[in-house]
Symmetry: C2
DNA sequence: TGTTCAATTGCGTCATTATGCAAGTGTAAG
DNA sequence: CTTACACTTGCATAATGACGCAATTGAACA
């Protein structure tokens, strides 16, 4: 360790335990909410999302159902679940329902999460932080 | 639609079907791999990841196990799964194993995915793209 | 060599979830 | 009003996954 680093870390409590760290509330706790990941962890749902992304427009349930081999009702449920998770939005016209990707929101969510992961309790010298003075969290 | 937009979209095949779109290979197909999401969709695993993030250093399995109420063996399995998914890395010294977050890689993965979601088959006028000329995919 | 400790792995159980079929809901058209 | 269509929902089944306990591995130490 360099003299500079020694000076920077002087006076800190060292080696905060994971137990202490997890008791601390941080933005990452909200952003790592499993709800979106739960929606994206199923291969069928992911393929439906990719289909809608690549199609680049709003599509009806019937159209999307042609993209994969599962039952129509399963597609309907998956799309509803993706909407619930905030990845899609729907619009009903007559008896048809169209889904499209909430592109901007999804992008923002991912970027915000990336920022939080990058910055959470980050220490340029890779040293443990105090339990109370973590400025980035 | 403005005259300019009419000119820009002239000669395009319109309204590509989701079936056609999903047949097209795009970067988003690789980036939306469910493996990472599968690792992040469980509340216990997410809390372990958040714990390691907030702790800001490498932690042993025993230390992390103190953060949550599940069995030690469960924590061991969860950490191994997070490592397999690319979110953590481990280092063995003697009989203890330390895990820490692969912060840079995780951040990059999320940002790359965000970029792909944002740009995939994006059309400023929200019109469908050709099936063969999607420059951003 | 035998003991202790950290961690992993095997296995049974319980809960969750994905799926398909069938029935139901709501809207448009004849 | 009746029919046809797009979609949703109820329900049973099968697959997946989380969990705890116990046994095992592997390393340090007396």
């Amino acid at each position: 360790m360099t003299q500079l680093n020694k000076r920077l870390t002087a006076g800190r409590k060292r080696a905060v335990s994971p137990k202490q760290a997890s008791a601390r509330r941080a933005p990452i706790d909200q952003l790592l909410d499993p709800a979106l990941f739960k929606a994206l962890c199923d291969p069928t749902r992911v393929s439906l999302l990719a289909c809608l992304l690549k199609c680049g427009r709003a599509c009806t349930v019937s159209e999307v159902a042609e993209c994969c081999s599962v039952d129509f009702s399963v597609v309907s449920r998956h799309l509803a679940m993706l909407e619930q998770a905030g990845a899609l939005e729907s619009a009903k016209t007559g008896r048809t329902v169209s889904y499209k990707v909430r592109r901007a929101d999804l992008t923002k969510t991912l970027r915000t999460l990336a920022d939080a992961v990058e910055g959470c309790c980050m220490n340029p010298n890779d040293e443990p932080r105090d339990s109370g003075t973590c400025s980035s969290c």
